[in-house]
Symmetry: C2
Subunit: 96 residues, 2 copies
């Protein structure tokens, strides 16, 4: 019984992982578009004020169970990966 | 015009962040339930085989733009935070 329960919970976890995967990639597509707009206008990619605002919004909206500090740490990793992705796009553009 | 476009993209990014936040917390709730089942059966919380399977599934399902290695790195951070959360729950249980 407990094993069956575990298998069901694991299946839900896999579904949740796939939803998160999809959303993180969709988020990356938006970041790429922002990178495109910024490179046209010559604006710097990294904007600490904007990043702070996103982290504040996470603090406001967090209903747990994760602590806000944990979530902000996870999102900072996502932000960092996104900046790296924008950097790669720019390098590719330079090679064309 | 470009500024307006940027504002719209940022609003989409905020929406996406909030969706990811919600899913990561929902995922944590499932992990807590798994922790509960495991502690009843005396099974160890950390299961490297299961973690490997989840990472493989991410590799299979990834459609980009993020590279699989980047996503696997992000998910490992989520897994780590989840294990820490299960540890906190256990400590709380010990205090009751």
């Amino acid at each position: 019984m407990s094993n069956e329960e575990l298998e069901q919970l694991r299946a839900s976890l896999d579904d949740k992982n796939m939803e998160i995967l999809k959303l993180i990639n969709e988020r990356a597509e938006i970041v790429q578009k922002i990178g495109g707009v910024k490179s046209k206008s010559g604006t710097k990619r990294f904007d600490p004020v904007r990043e702070r605002k996103m982290l504040d919004l996470i603090a406001e909206e967090n209903e747990g169970p994760f602590k806000t500090s944990t979530l902000q740490h996870l999102f900072k990793q996502i932000f960092k990966a996104s900046l790296e992705l924008m950097g790669e796009d720019e390098q590719k553009a330079l090679l064309v």
